[in-house]
Protein backbone atom coordinates (compact mmCIF):
# COMPACT_ATOMS: atom_id res chain seq x y z
CA UNK A 1 0.00 0.00 0.00
CA UNK A 2 1.48 3.37 -0.96
CA UNK A 3 1.85 6.29 1.44
CA UNK A 4 -0.75 8.20 -0.53
CA UNK A 5 -3.25 5.38 -0.17
CA UNK A 6 -2.51 5.09 3.52
CA UNK A 7 -2.84 8.80 4.15
CA UNK A 8 -6.12 8.94 2.31
CA UNK A 9 -7.66 5.73 3.62
CA UNK A 10 -8.13 4.28 0.18
CA UNK A 11 -9.49 0.80 0.72
CA UNK A 12 -11.25 -2.00 -1.06
CA UNK A 13 -14.50 -0.33 -0.22
CA UNK A 14 -13.56 2.59 -2.47
CA UNK A 15 -12.72 0.18 -5.23
CA UNK A 16 -16.08 -1.55 -5.10
CA UNK A 17 -17.74 1.85 -5.11
CA UNK A 18 -15.75 2.72 -8.21
CA UNK A 19 -16.97 -0.47 -9.85
CA UNK A 20 -20.56 0.36 -9.03
CA UNK A 21 -20.06 3.76 -10.53
CA UNK A 22 -18.68 2.27 -13.73
CA UNK A 23 -21.73 0.00 -13.96
CA UNK A 24 -24.12 2.93 -13.57
CA UNK A 25 -22.19 4.83 -16.20
CA UNK A 26 -22.40 1.91 -18.63
CA UNK A 27 -26.14 1.42 -18.06
CA UNK A 28 -26.77 5.09 -18.60
CA UNK A 29 -24.71 5.21 -21.78
CA UNK A 30 -26.69 2.29 -23.20
CA UNK A 31 -30.21 3.09 -22.05
CA UNK A 32 -30.12 6.57 -20.52
CA UNK A 33 -32.06 8.29 -23.26
CA UNK A 34 -34.90 5.77 -23.49
CA UNK A 35 -35.33 4.47 -19.96
CA UNK A 36 -37.43 6.76 -17.75
CA UNK A 37 -36.66 4.86 -14.58
CA UNK A 38 -32.94 5.25 -15.20
CA UNK A 39 -33.35 8.95 -15.84
CA UNK A 40 -35.30 9.39 -12.61
CA UNK A 41 -32.67 7.41 -10.72
CA UNK A 42 -29.91 9.55 -12.17
CA UNK A 43 -31.60 12.57 -10.60
CA UNK A 44 -30.78 11.08 -7.20
CA UNK A 45 -27.07 11.53 -7.86
CA UNK A 46 -25.86 14.84 -6.43
CA UNK A 47 -25.86 17.46 -9.16
CA UNK A 48 -22.18 18.19 -8.86
CA UNK A 49 -21.35 14.55 -9.60
CA UNK A 50 -23.88 13.82 -12.32
CA UNK A 51 -21.64 14.79 -15.19
CA UNK A 52 -18.77 12.72 -13.88
CA UNK A 53 -20.90 9.64 -13.16
CA UNK A 54 -23.08 9.64 -16.21
CA UNK A 55 -20.95 11.03 -18.99
CA UNK A 56 -17.84 9.28 -17.78
CA UNK A 57 -15.91 12.52 -17.78
CA UNK A 58 -13.41 11.10 -15.35
CA UNK A 59 -10.99 9.81 -17.92
CA UNK A 60 -7.45 9.05 -17.04
CA UNK A 61 -4.52 7.21 -18.53
CA UNK A 62 -4.62 3.45 -18.99
CA UNK A 63 -2.77 1.45 -16.38
CA UNK A 64 -0.20 0.12 -18.83
CA UNK A 65 0.81 3.69 -19.65
CA UNK A 66 1.40 4.52 -16.01
CA UNK A 67 3.31 1.27 -15.49
CA UNK A 68 5.53 2.01 -18.48
CA UNK A 69 6.71 5.47 -17.37
CA UNK A 70 10.51 5.55 -17.35
CA UNK A 71 12.14 5.52 -13.93
CA UNK A 72 14.71 8.10 -12.96
CA UNK A 73 17.86 6.55 -11.48
CA UNK A 74 18.74 7.63 -7.95
CA UNK A 75 22.10 9.09 -9.03
CA UNK A 76 20.27 11.47 -11.40
CA UNK A 77 18.37 12.99 -8.46
CA UNK A 78 19.81 15.94 -6.55
CA UNK A 79 19.32 16.63 -2.87
CA UNK A 80 16.59 19.21 -2.55
CA UNK A 81 14.68 18.01 -5.63
CA UNK A 82 11.14 17.37 -4.52
CA UNK A 83 7.91 15.99 -5.86
CA UNK A 84 5.47 18.81 -6.49
CA UNK A 85 2.51 16.61 -5.56
CA UNK A 86 3.52 15.50 -2.05
CA UNK A 87 6.10 18.30 -1.59
CA UNK A 88 8.62 15.82 -0.15
CA UNK A 89 12.30 15.56 -1.16
CA UNK A 90 12.99 12.50 -3.28
CA UNK A 91 16.09 11.81 -1.22
CA UNK A 92 14.08 11.57 2.02
CA UNK A 93 13.31 8.09 0.77
CA UNK A 94 16.20 5.65 0.77
CA UNK A 95 14.80 4.01 -2.35
CA UNK A 96 13.06 6.80 -4.26
CA UNK A 97 10.77 5.60 -7.03
CA UNK A 98 10.68 8.60 -9.34
CA UNK A 99 9.35 8.64 -12.90
CA UNK A 100 9.54 11.06 -15.80
CA UNK A 101 6.62 11.98 -18.05
CA UNK A 102 7.13 11.69 -21.81
CA UNK A 103 7.98 14.82 -23.78
CA UNK A 104 7.86 17.41 -20.96
CA UNK A 105 10.17 15.29 -18.76
CA UNK A 106 8.62 16.54 -15.54
CA UNK A 107 9.40 14.26 -12.62
CA UNK A 108 7.22 12.97 -9.81
CA UNK A 109 7.08 10.18 -7.26
CA UNK A 110 5.47 7.28 -9.08
CA UNK A 111 2.93 6.69 -6.35
CA UNK A 112 1.86 10.36 -6.43
CA UNK A 113 1.57 10.81 -10.18
CA UNK A 114 -0.06 7.39 -10.62
CA UNK A 115 -3.05 8.51 -8.56
CA UNK A 116 -3.36 11.71 -10.61
CA UNK A 117 -2.94 10.04 -14.00
CA UNK A 118 -5.60 7.48 -13.15
CA UNK A 119 -8.09 10.35 -13.44
CA UNK A 120 -6.36 12.81 -15.74
CA UNK A 121 -4.24 12.87 -18.88
CA UNK A 122 -2.31 16.02 -18.14
CA UNK A 123 1.05 16.75 -16.55
CA UNK A 124 0.44 18.43 -13.18
CA UNK A 125 3.15 21.00 -13.89
CA UNK A 126 2.62 22.04 -17.53
CA UNK A 127 -0.78 20.50 -18.45
CA UNK A 128 0.82 18.71 -21.39
CA UNK A 129 -1.41 15.92 -22.69
CA UNK A 130 0.79 12.98 -21.75
CA UNK A 131 -0.94 10.53 -24.08
CA UNK A 132 -0.48 12.66 -27.18
CA UNK A 133 3.10 11.58 -27.80
CA UNK A 134 4.00 8.36 -29.52
CA UNK A 135 6.10 6.17 -27.28
CA UNK A 136 9.62 5.78 -28.61
CA UNK A 137 10.69 2.19 -28.42
CA UNK A 138 14.31 1.86 -27.48
CA UNK A 139 15.35 -0.91 -29.88
CA UNK A 140 19.08 -0.77 -29.16
CA UNK A 141 18.61 -1.84 -25.55
CA UNK A 142 16.33 -4.73 -26.48
CA UNK A 143 18.99 -6.04 -28.84
CA UNK A 144 21.71 -5.83 -26.24
CA UNK A 145 19.63 -7.86 -23.86
CA UNK A 146 19.04 -10.46 -26.51
CA UNK A 147 22.76 -10.73 -27.20
CA UNK A 148 23.44 -11.24 -23.55
CA UNK A 149 21.03 -14.10 -23.55
CA UNK A 150 22.87 -15.74 -26.42
CA UNK A 151 26.39 -15.45 -25.15
CA UNK A 152 25.69 -15.54 -21.41
Amino acid sequence: MSAYEEEHNISNEDNSRRELRAQIHELYQENGQSNTLLQLLSQLIPESMQEEWLQGKEEGCPEYFIDSLPRVAKNKLKTGDSCSICCCDYMDDQYPLVVELPHCNHRFDLECVAVWLSKSKTCPLCRDDVLSHKPSVDVSKAEIEEDWGMYG
Partner: protein
Amino acid sequence: MASLPKRIIKETERLVSDPVPGITAQPHEDNLRYFQVTIEGPQQSPYESGVFELELFLPDDYPMEAPKVRFLTKIYHPNIDRLGRICLDVLKTNWSPALQIRTVLLSIQALLASPNPNDPLANDVAEDWIKNEEAAIEKAREWTRLYAKPK
Protein backbone atom coordinates in the same frame (compact mmCIF):
# COMPACT_ATOMS: atom_id res chain seq x y z
CA MET B 1 -9.99 10.13 9.78
CA ALA B 2 -6.58 9.61 8.26
CA SER B 3 -3.71 11.63 9.68
CA LEU B 4 -2.88 14.97 8.08
CA PRO B 5 -0.70 14.46 4.96
CA LYS B 6 2.80 15.90 5.19
CA ARG B 7 2.10 18.20 2.29
CA ILE B 8 -0.71 19.97 4.16
CA ILE B 9 1.54 20.45 7.20
CA LYS B 10 4.29 21.90 4.98
CA GLU B 11 1.91 24.22 3.15
CA THR B 12 0.43 25.47 6.40
CA GLU B 13 3.87 26.14 7.90
CA ARG B 14 4.92 28.09 4.83
CA LEU B 15 1.70 30.12 4.74
CA VAL B 16 2.52 31.30 8.26
CA SER B 17 6.31 31.72 7.94
CA ASP B 18 6.32 33.22 4.43
CA PRO B 19 2.87 34.71 3.87
CA VAL B 20 1.70 36.01 0.49
CA PRO B 21 1.43 39.84 0.57
CA GLY B 22 -2.19 40.88 1.09
CA ILE B 23 -3.34 37.36 1.95
CA THR B 24 -3.68 35.52 5.27
CA ALA B 25 -4.72 31.91 5.84
CA GLN B 26 -5.13 30.45 9.33
CA PRO B 27 -6.04 26.81 9.95
CA HIS B 28 -8.87 26.21 12.38
CA GLU B 29 -7.80 24.81 15.77
CA ASP B 30 -10.23 21.89 15.66
CA ASN B 31 -9.87 21.09 11.97
CA LEU B 32 -6.54 21.59 10.28
CA ARG B 33 -8.15 21.18 6.85
CA TYR B 34 -10.35 24.22 7.38
CA PHE B 35 -8.77 27.66 6.88
CA GLN B 36 -10.01 31.13 7.62
CA VAL B 37 -8.72 33.33 4.83
CA THR B 38 -8.53 37.07 4.21
CA ILE B 39 -7.69 38.71 0.88
CA GLU B 40 -7.02 42.42 0.46
CA GLY B 41 -8.75 43.99 -2.52
CA PRO B 42 -6.12 44.61 -5.23
CA GLN B 43 -4.91 48.16 -5.91
CA GLN B 44 -6.75 50.00 -8.69
CA SER B 45 -9.71 47.64 -8.50
CA PRO B 46 -13.17 48.54 -7.15
CA TYR B 47 -12.33 46.31 -4.17
CA GLU B 48 -9.13 48.14 -3.16
CA SER B 49 -10.50 49.71 0.02
CA GLY B 50 -11.59 46.42 1.59
CA VAL B 51 -10.40 43.19 3.16
CA PHE B 52 -12.52 40.15 2.24
CA GLU B 53 -13.08 37.06 4.35
CA LEU B 54 -13.18 33.60 2.80
CA GLU B 55 -13.25 30.01 3.98
CA LEU B 56 -11.12 27.29 2.45
CA PHE B 57 -11.51 23.55 2.97
CA LEU B 58 -9.13 20.83 1.86
CA PRO B 59 -11.17 17.72 0.91
CA ASP B 60 -9.92 14.23 1.85
CA ASP B 61 -8.62 13.74 -1.69
CA TYR B 62 -6.56 16.94 -1.68
CA PRO B 63 -4.24 17.50 -3.58
CA MET B 64 -5.84 15.21 -6.18
CA GLU B 65 -8.95 17.34 -5.77
CA ALA B 66 -9.05 21.15 -5.61
CA PRO B 67 -9.65 22.99 -2.33
CA LYS B 68 -13.18 24.25 -1.76
CA VAL B 69 -13.14 28.03 -1.40
CA ARG B 70 -15.99 30.45 -0.76
CA PHE B 71 -16.32 34.17 -0.04
CA LEU B 72 -17.92 34.88 3.31
CA THR B 73 -17.95 38.63 2.78
CA LYS B 74 -20.67 39.82 0.43
CA ILE B 75 -19.09 40.97 -2.82
CA TYR B 76 -20.36 42.39 -6.12
CA HIS B 77 -18.41 40.53 -8.82
CA PRO B 78 -19.55 38.76 -12.02
CA ASN B 79 -17.68 35.56 -11.20
CA ILE B 80 -18.81 35.29 -7.57
CA ASP B 81 -22.43 34.46 -6.78
CA ARG B 82 -24.49 35.59 -3.79
CA LEU B 83 -23.52 32.48 -1.84
CA GLY B 84 -19.89 33.42 -2.27
CA ARG B 85 -19.13 30.60 -4.70
CA ILE B 86 -16.32 31.39 -7.11
CA CYS B 87 -16.20 30.65 -10.84
CA LEU B 88 -12.53 30.02 -11.45
CA ASP B 89 -11.02 27.39 -13.77
CA VAL B 90 -8.27 26.24 -11.40
CA LEU B 91 -10.90 25.40 -8.78
CA LYS B 92 -12.72 23.14 -11.23
CA THR B 93 -11.54 21.63 -14.52
CA ASN B 94 -8.07 23.16 -14.52
CA TRP B 95 -7.05 21.99 -11.06
CA SER B 96 -3.64 20.35 -10.86
CA PRO B 97 -2.05 18.67 -7.83
CA ALA B 98 1.01 20.88 -8.36
CA LEU B 99 -1.08 23.90 -7.40
CA GLN B 100 -1.23 24.88 -3.74
CA ILE B 101 -3.34 26.84 -1.29
CA ARG B 102 -1.18 29.92 -1.91
CA THR B 103 -1.44 29.72 -5.71
CA VAL B 104 -5.21 29.29 -5.51
CA LEU B 105 -5.55 32.33 -3.26
CA LEU B 106 -3.33 34.36 -5.60
CA SER B 107 -5.60 33.37 -8.51
CA ILE B 108 -8.62 34.58 -6.54
CA GLN B 109 -6.86 37.87 -5.82
CA ALA B 110 -6.14 38.19 -9.55
CA LEU B 111 -9.80 37.47 -10.32
CA LEU B 112 -10.73 40.46 -8.14
CA ALA B 113 -8.35 42.62 -10.19
CA SER B 114 -9.81 41.45 -13.50
CA PRO B 115 -13.48 40.43 -13.43
CA ASN B 116 -14.57 38.33 -16.40
CA PRO B 117 -18.27 39.02 -17.20
CA ASN B 118 -18.10 36.74 -20.26
CA ASP B 119 -17.71 33.67 -18.05
CA PRO B 120 -20.20 34.52 -15.33
CA LEU B 121 -21.38 32.68 -12.26
CA ALA B 122 -23.60 35.50 -11.06
CA ASN B 123 -25.62 36.11 -14.22
CA ASP B 124 -27.39 39.27 -13.09
CA VAL B 125 -24.13 40.89 -12.04
CA ALA B 126 -22.47 39.89 -15.32
CA GLU B 127 -25.34 41.41 -17.30
CA ASP B 128 -25.01 44.67 -15.37
CA TRP B 129 -21.28 44.56 -15.94
CA ILE B 130 -21.62 44.21 -19.71
CA LYS B 131 -24.50 46.71 -20.03
CA ASN B 132 -22.95 49.47 -17.97
CA GLU B 133 -19.44 48.77 -16.72
CA GLU B 134 -19.00 52.12 -15.03
CA ALA B 135 -22.15 51.73 -12.94
CA ALA B 136 -21.25 48.14 -12.07
CA ILE B 137 -17.79 49.18 -10.90
CA GLU B 138 -19.35 51.91 -8.78
CA LYS B 139 -21.70 49.34 -7.22
CA ALA B 140 -18.75 47.02 -6.51
CA ARG B 141 -17.01 49.94 -4.79
CA GLU B 142 -20.12 50.67 -2.73
CA TRP B 143 -20.55 47.01 -1.65
CA THR B 144 -16.87 46.98 -0.65
CA ARG B 145 -17.49 50.00 1.60
CA LEU B 146 -20.68 48.44 3.00
CA TYR B 147 -19.62 44.83 3.61
CA ALA B 148 -15.81 44.41 3.53
CA LYS B 149 -13.55 45.30 6.44
CA PRO B 150 -11.74 48.59 5.79
CA LYS B 151 -8.03 48.14 5.01
